[in-house]
Symmetry: D3
């Protein structure tokens, strides 16, 4: 029986202008449904696990379309609650070269998910079933109700022996009160978490930790062990990313575990759809840990998963273990027949 | 100089599934921007007037796309205010035969228009310029702020000698308090209006008027003169519509003016896109009145305008006077070369 | 817990020329996955049951796409076996008016399903779980292996108390040996079946029964009771269909149960996509029987389900019970908001 | 060896707005290449003949695309001359219901075809090879050069024993000088023609013949025999067409030969793409004559060919003899598998 | 009140094969409307000015579509004359890598614009209103009538105090008489111009000036000051462009003003749609001059505007001042949320 | 009269997911028809020869679509036999960056071509007409019947003085018995061939030849002369290809003739559609030989043809001699107007 990987999070409708036109130029949109929870649970499904999403969606054609889309990805709908009125949405205009991509949100605070109550979820049933549960900082930025559900769920799953994975993923625009408002909630989640996705910036800005180091890598090496110790976190992982002058992207993954750091090589690659690469990295770390990979293999696997996610249309990673291992090997194949 | 026809209303983004697929089946949407105000001001532009919309749109790519779309229709942007955060949206799944079309709304109450203040509009400038101003019952169903803006505008335009056109257009789902909540607001608008779009149902249900007649036509003939008298309305017009077993639609227009009723023939026709036909009828009435058509010609012109709007893609009427007059003649042409 | 409806059958890839072009004119195709089993299990899912498909699909991108498509429909993949090499396909060119639609098959006999062995399916597990299992005559026309699996499955399910539904669905082009070859296999299935979809033509041509009646209805009334008696079948149902000169289709459903016939009215309606209407009718009969509808309601419900399936894109019915009941009422709605 | 059917005429690029949008609403076009000559030569190819087009096209990407399109249809390119600068174009906006289709032309008088010289065509080679050559009144309306080429070609083919088919096809907008300018050119062609497509209107308006009859049929019966006699024409054929209130079209074909009239039934049918139906009718007459059908069968075959052409996307008929014979039988088939 | 920027020029319909197919391979086209005047007036509108186009378009569906498109861009239609028969068109096949893009023109000399008379434009009204008027060498290459209108307009605007901007833009294929024919017309325009877009090649080839320098930069530095002096031109600006082996493009802008040269850096960037980059550069120079930027900022701004135009679909620049300033800063952003 | 280039081979239907989606994500496909024989005969047609394909296709809508597609390319259908039941197909998912393209085949062994008999082809007629006939190793891997037809054809053409071109093109997945099974058939073809496409790997692996050299180039120089001598082959040519880290491809062509080797430069270029590049190279070699190019020009021409084929949509080369010569020159043009 495959392990059950459960993610808690909002389903967003992604409405993308095809090609490279602007919203003022086009007249059609491509739609799909995504979100960090969707991406992680789906990516884990492709890696052979049973992925589930805990969310709430309206009982209308948009909610039905979202559920159909999740089912298509293989994500289990057992923990999806129906009700409320709206689905959060974002519009995406693809950038090209020196012109950046642009995302415009609709009012997501009124969505079914963000107006859901604790009682909308059968938390005990979830806790019985989850081998790993995944949360993220975007969800933490929503409403008090959402934060309450999140923390209760984390505690219940932990109590039943499930692992807690938390991705810090701080989005400045979502926190009216900035780092000050965010910090106590992040600390609550870190205290519960077993596996955490973050880097030195999260430590410095959200947690307010200080370092005398100046390079990103040194800051990371200084601060992450302190975070791990303070919040009793088993594994911390994350990436450093950059956009190169030739429009390729670079990614270097790291993992801190058992007191030591492992880094992947800094890999550069062409990017088709950049959204969701971080969630692919997360799924790579989770798989490496569950599959008992040596840490070095886990980090390289996660980095390759992140890279491949950038070659896939849509937010959601679609690669299998075989494909990721092949990409890790680094040779570019011609055509697979 | 063409007369200036100004409409006050929300711009909605229409997101339509192409063809006859459902949202759960498709992955693309066609988008356009519409709304009763958009439709009427645009239709009047095609009929040779200068059409303007009074609305508020966000200063983001969606607001820009809406304005580009209005410009494309020839609608003037002079009275459009920018600010707020959201654009109201609706999703349309086309019906076929016995399967009805389906509309799903997003949260429009948070839109820029529905959160706008009186101070967002330069009402005196508008009042100076409007020869006719158009309002509708959908807008009246929104927020107290919107209703306040609506009534102040109507009074200011009336004071400057402009005509007030009000389309009752009652949507049950928009009034939490039902007819009881709606009635006083409708009465305020009717008391200000010169030209009103309504039928016997509005009189009975919104205004609570009673009649002993049983057929639609008798009820209309009984009640509409009373409405005209009570609220001192110059012209009242409207339609009776039906869907026939062979999927054609039927429409019969009427106008009550100077104490007498004029009816068009009951015309039947094939329908490609039914939304916006009522606004085309309104624009036909306004044009007939402004152009000094005999009443009988006005009603037939308005009915033909409504019919043609059903043959056009999108909510917004696109026909010229020549095209409507040709359709009034009733012969079906082959190909115009 | 919803009842489990399990269907046994091949998944076909449907490759449809968009609009009304011919294959020699177009350069794109729309693809989906269907088949009688897919259609019935999916339709039952929409009606609130847990639908499953028993089939075999190749472990390649086409098989993956088929499974994703089934998942999107909500059909359970628990009983899907992976292996073999091919997916059966058909190309569809839509007809218009006097020009009939045209279907061209690829070589389906080499498909994973049609080359599967009995051992590819965990028949005991299926038999434990199936409340109803559905088979069809198209599947029966395939290979000896397929027929063997079919009969063993039917027996195992019957032994465990599940109901057997068999749709005669005779396709002349699939039986090299014609009725002579088909008859013994049909008799085997009829002897096992509880609910059978057929009409008088199946009785006359496949089973070789004779009647002196000349009208379709009289032949039906003469022969179906004899079939029910001979093979100990609880319920027999089916339709008479016709294409009218105005290109609408007509459908009249019947059900024979407990010694009496019930007919629906002969309903006429516009058709967008005719394929799959029979499977929708079957699902309506199954739902009526499971839900304990009176027979007359069951037949009308099934006929309405068949009619609605003709308004839906693709082979697969997508309507809910609410929608079908609303269509049964017979009024054509305008727009559902 | 199939007979060689050669048509002389311009290739037009057809640029069609997809679906039912207007040019002011859409942003894409579908393109194909057509023209009466293209349609007739292509239709004859589908009926089993070797179809050729005599035309001139520019040696640029548009001319290449036109030739590729003709090749795709199976039309031989042996008699196509290359040179000149432009391809004639027309834009098509599809009508719906009461809204007529609309065609907008670009400047076709500057096209390669309409600026071609007699010397651009190897007329002797063509005359050696053509069993039938087809001309039409649209071509006759072009330039003096075109008319010169047309008449020389007709004479050379006639001299070598080929049959001359001439379709009157008078387009008022193309003749600056109206009927007066057109008449002598029409008379030249009629004097050369063996098979002529026309009806009573052509006789009255182009040839200025008078009749005291008032119905179309009586006028036809009065005038066509006089035309046949005066110009020594073997066979005259044509249609009466009408658009019905329910948007179906009606067509009744006739043929006058050996002193007697044959009429088809007046058939009514749904129309998808009306352009090119006349050319399909012509090809049906030609095939009937070449295949030695009895006249009554020829007329019915031609009418069915015209009807089927209305169910096909694009100007160009695509039906085979088998398909037309099947449509003649008049039953609407379900799905051809 | 924003300044009024008026451009005189033809509107061309751009018909582009989507993606990278050839006209012989595809069957759809994307259309838009452009031209140097369209591009400059639209770009200035995006930069906050009131942009207008002086042109003539036919009163038919193509002319209507062109005007709708201009309105969508925000370009004012006050100075657009209606009449004539045709719209100029060009077909674009996108190149890829080593395969160059290919443009095929239709007969633009017959267009409404190129057959317009001086009397088609209300030149005095235009002269009253234009703060800047823009002309280009492509327009100068058309007909005597067009040249006459151009020169009269330039004189009238100059007389009323407006600035004259002239873009040399020499297209060899448009001048039958080559440089000899072009020179006197260019000299007329240069004598009237305040701001001129050109580089050393224009000086050498059109004006026949000689230099002993051999590098492009030296030639520029030698000749441009002489041009400025001879024709009393306030500001001359232009670019040097190159295509690099890795398919990126390079652009270096210059401006000569008050006796001194300013050069931007040579910037390299990826290109999505190269057409219109020069017009974006022009609009950047005009904005810098109008906004009182220091010359160095103006040149860098114009270069960035040209670069961004290459990342935008279609001929017409769509970037705001904020976006161009951000691109000037040179960092590549990730996603704008 | 152009020379007649005849190719023998299967027509495959290519079903490609548009853009970069996977089959599990998309719902549309673009289709075309290709195959080594199609590609070579079509490429030679573009180069000015009369190209023909010898193949067999079913007499159904798929076969008709294939023939229409071949005709569109200008390939002659005189030697195409009709019958059998199926068309071989492959599905293509485009790779991006580090994610390789993926091809999935349907069951091609049942295709009309692979089940054809020697008697399906009029071999004597073909032999009379072919100046060059082309075969390839993919075809050789099919069935005994296909191999028999291939060898008889080769002998008959050779007997009549036609040249035999054979492309080794070994596909491991197609030979159940591996090199051992393949070798005797390859030897039969090599013994008949005048022009052979191969490289050192074919010599080592298929023919089992040994070399002590280690670099590709040295192995080539060692082995190819031995092959030429042993099998009496006039000309051997081929390529070395590589995918570079920046996703460009590199290609170096060679030709061995009259005892000496000629190599092209190693050229690098961007790739849009890689399939068919080898066939373009072959057509370049054939054209160089037929046109009497010096060997060095032939190799450079063939390499440029291969490069350009990678910039064209679809498997089939579309470039003319002028375009290839221009690409040989190596400068990247801007826009061809």
């Amino acid at each position: 029986m495959p392990k059950k990987i459960v993610a808690f999070g909002e389903v967003m409708m992604r409405l993308q202008v095809p090609g490279y036109e602007l919203l003022t130029q086009a007249n059609t949109l491509q739609y799909s449904f995504s979100g960090t929870g969707v991406n992680v649970s789906s990516a884990m499904t492709k890696l052979g696990y049973d992925g589930y999403l805990i969310t709430k969606l309206p009982d209308n054609p948009l909610g039905d379309a979202a559920i159909s889309f999740l089912q298509r990805l293989g994500v289990g709908r057992d923990f999806i609650s129906k009700g409320g009125k709206y689905v959060g949405m974002y519009f995406l205009e693809n950038g090209f070269g020196q012109r950046a991509s642009r995302v415009t949100y609709t009012n997501r605070l009124e969505s079914s998910f963000n107006t859901a109550h604790v009682s909308d979820y059968d938390m005990d049933l979830i806790a019985e079933n989850a081998d790993i549960i995944h949360f993220c900082g975007i969800t933490l930025a929503m409403t008090d109700q959402v934060r309450e559900s999140m923390k209760i769920l984390a505690k219940k799953v932990k109590a039943k022996g499930g692992l807690i994975c938390f991705d810090c993923n701080y989005r400045p625009s979502l926190w009216d009160g900035g780092y000050t408002q965010a910090k106590p909630h992040y600390e609550d989640m870190l205290a519960l978490a077993d596996i955490v996705m973050m880097n030195e910036k999260d430590a410095m800005f959200i947690l307010g930790m200080e370092t005398e180091k100046s390079s990103k890598e040194e800051q990371l090496k200084d601060l992450i062990p302190k975070v791990a110790e303070k919040y009793h976190i088993q594994t911390i992982a994350g990436t450093h990313r950059a956009i190169n002058p030739d429009n390729t992207h670079s990614l270097r993954g790291y993992m801190y575990k058992n007191g030591s750091f492992i880094f992947s090589k800094n890999i550069s690659f062409s990017v088709y759809d950049r959204i969701g690469a971080g969630d692919a990295y997360t799924s790579g770390i989770l798989h490496g840990e569950l599959a008992g990979f040596p840490s070095e293999k886990t980090v390289r696997f996660a980095a390759a998963a992140g890279m491949l996610a950038c070659t896939i249309v849509g937010d959601t990673p679609m690669s299998t273990e075989t494909e990721i291992l092949s990409a890790m090997a680094g040779t570019i194949e011609d055509i697979k027949r």
